[in-house]
């Protein structure tokens, strides 16, 4: 065996080791963050956190009930507006999207996926908050919906495209009209995948803060009116983390743990939905 051959094998081994190490660092980063979140968050959680509203700065014993309810309302609003538009666009792309319009929509969806969420927030402000004259939960929900549409559209398209062509042909051959084929056969077959895409999108907007800064604004009080400013967990974390009080920092960690838990549940739900598809698809 030549020296050259030996050297090549050593280099190969070293580089493989390096790749493993780099991958390990990335995994380690996640474990560190989740670990800190768990340790610092769990020690700050108590029953008051879930049922009480914030107390004036400096006092202790407050909770973030208003933010928990607010997150549910605003994310719900965003999903209510964003999901139908997103799924519809995705179906269009998959069914009729081979032409020029399809290309444009697809490209814009991909570009919009990368648009900074703060810019979307500014847009929602000029579009909804300024004409209406006040901040509102509705504007926040609309901003989140705008962020959702391209994500949902692209995943829906991808999932619908995975449906075998023979299914469509079989339905059409049996005399099904196109729309019934599309909804009843194609979309239904791809349902688990579409649900996954939707859950992932909801998980992502649930953690968004930037688009809510000038739309939902935040609210120290409990509010369920979508015409009023509303608090969310993400806005609460921002306020508390950048504030000067120890008590606030404690609540910020607790709120972060709850928010992360919510996002994780949605993400795991999405994976579970995919697994369903693979099991039944055979």
């Amino acid at each position: 065996m030549s020296v050259r051959r030996l050297r090549r094998r050593i280099v190969s081994g070293l580089m493989t080791g390096l790749v493993v190490a780099l991958c390990g660092v990335a995994v380690l980063a996640l474990l560190l963050i989740l670990g800190d979140l768990l340790v610092k968050g769990a020690s700050s959680l108590d029953w008051r956190f879930f049922v009480k509203n914030p107390v004036p700065a400096g006092q202790s014993g407050g909770g973030v009930a208003n933010a928990i309810v607010g997150t549910a309302i605003i994310v719900g609003l965003g999903a209510l507006i964003g999901l139908p538009v997103g799924i519809g666009s995705g179906l269009y792309l998959a069914e009729y999207g081979s032409g020029r319009l399809g290309w444009i929509v697809r490209f814009l969806a991909d570009v919009m996926n990368g648009t900074p969420s703060i810019v979307v927030g500014v847009f929602a402000w000029t579009w909804l908050v300024k004409p209406m004259g006040h901040f509102s939960a509705f504007a926040g929900g609309a901003a989140l919906a705008i962020l959702m549409v391209p994500m949902v559209a692209r995943t829906t398209e991808e999932m619908v495209r995975l449906v075998p062509h023979s299914l469509r042909e079989a339905a059409l051959a049996l005399g099904y009209p196109r729309w019934r084929t599309s909804i009843g056969i194609i979309a239904r077959t791809a349902l688990a995948g579409i649900v996954t895409g939707c859950l992932v999108a909801v998980a992502r907007i649930a953690g968004e803060t930037a688009p809510l800064l000038f739309t939902a604004l935040g609210n120290l009080n409990f509010s369920t009116s979508i015409n009023q400013p509303m608090q969310t967990l993400s806005l609460q974390i921002f306020t508390y983390a950048t504030g000067p009080f120890e008590e606030w920092h404690r609540l910020a960690w607790a709120a972060a743990l709850v928010l992360m838990g919510l996002v994780l549940v949605l993400a795991l739900g999405a994976r579970w939905a995919v697994r369903q598809r693979h099991d039944t698809g055979r």
């Binding site: 493993v20 991958c23 991909d110 990368g114 648009t115 692209r154 009209p177 930037a210 993400s234 994976r271």
Partner: protein, 336 residues
């Protein structure tokens, strides 16, 4: 389902047997329903381009007063004085680019490490779990990264990273000045952790799209496993890998909350990574709601417009590169 017949139902002529009428009518209703279905989907799909146009129009109109008043001085000068009504955004633009490039430099080796390990070296059993764990990084909300950055990363940097950095690179201009914690370095590292999953996910799909014959040919000619990856697989996916990195860059440019919380928000240009900086997104987040004068608001809109244009260009470039390798797939549009 009430479908309005868009075309009139063909009338039965005298000569035809009456039986034919309902059948034709039925087919026509189905056609109308099909057309309605297509119409509804098209209307929904048109929503996206319309939103995009509206967004560009709103940003431009609102930024116009500032564009006219300051011209190129807006991007070239550093004075940001809301009281005097003078606005130069150079430090924000510098901070945005500097923090993003720093992030990319840190993130690229990590992300490529993940992608190469997962596609080429990892045993089958650990591929899915590791991919899931890395993708979870993308699920962590930006504001939670910010929180972690403020209370964990910055103290860590102060104690463990900055002293050795100073010892080794102290002679360069990049690590000078007092380290207060909030700094370009902290912003860059947080951004790096945030974009690793995006770059890794896209790179992985690009590497998976490389035909197995590339690998086999290299191995068949006696290449080691690493040589096969380095000389046959990665060059084949080069355009896609560059696209993945640029996509990560686009993410970093537009990131708001985490960066706002750790970068220090100082309107100043400094090449030292230990100094506070400012980014465009952070400026909008911090100052938008307190912009009291029309020109101040307009200046912030111009910042938003510049940020938007930069990210759109960067993203479009990334897409085109990725599409070359993995044609037409929605690579990277998923968060998880």
């Amino acid at each position: 389902m009430t479908a309005l017949p868009i075309e009139p139902v063909p009338q039965a002529t005298d000569g035809e047997p009456p039986v034919a009428t309902p059948r034709r009518g039925g087919a026509s209703t189905a056609n109308a329903a099909d057309r309605l279905y297509k119409g509804v989907l098209t209307a929904l799909a048109l929503g996206l381009p319309i939103l995009m146009l509206a967004l560009v129009e709103q940003l431009t109109t609102n930024a116009w007063p500032a564009i006219r008043q300051f011209g190129w001085r807006f991007v070239g000068t550093s004075v940001w004085d809301p009281v005097a009504g003078v606005f130069g955004a150079a430090p924000m633009i510098f901070g945005t680019l500097a923090s993003s490039f720093l992030a990319v430099i840190i993130a690229v080796p990590l992300a490529l490490g993940v992608a190469v390990f997962l596609t080429e070296f990892a045993p089958k059993a650990v591929r899915q779990p590791i991919a899931f764990v890395v993708e979870l990084l993308a699920a962590i909300p930006s504001v939670v990264y910010g929180l972690w950055g403020v209370f964990v990363l910055i103290p860590f940097l102060r104690t463990y990273l900055v002293p050795p950095l100073r010892a080794v690179f102290g002679w360069t201009p990049f690590v000078t000045g007092v380290f207060y914690g909030n700094s370009l370095l902290a912003g860059g590292i947080i951004l790096a952790i945030m974009i690793v999953p995006y770059i890794a996910a896209v790179s992985r799909e690009v590497l998976l799209a490389v035909p197995g014959t590339q690998r086999e040919a290299a191995l068949g000619m006696g290449a080691t496993r690493w040589e096969a990856v380095w000389t046959a697989v990665m060059p084949y996916g080069r355009a896609g890998l560059i696209g993945a990195v640029i996509l990560g860059l686009g993410r970093a440019l537009g990131e708001t909350m985490a960066v706002t919380m750790v970068i220090g928000n100082r309107h100043d240009i400094s090449v030292s990574v230990l100094q506070p900086a400012y980014t465009m997104a952070a400026a909008i987040a911090n100052e938008f709601s307190e912009a009291t004068t029309a020109v101040y608001l307009s200046a912030l809109f111009e910042v938003g417009l510049i940020l938007f244009v930069i990210t759109v260009l960067v993203n479009a470039l990334a897409r085109l590169l990725i599409w070359q390798v993995a044609r037409g797939t929605a690579v990277g549009s998923r968060a998880l």
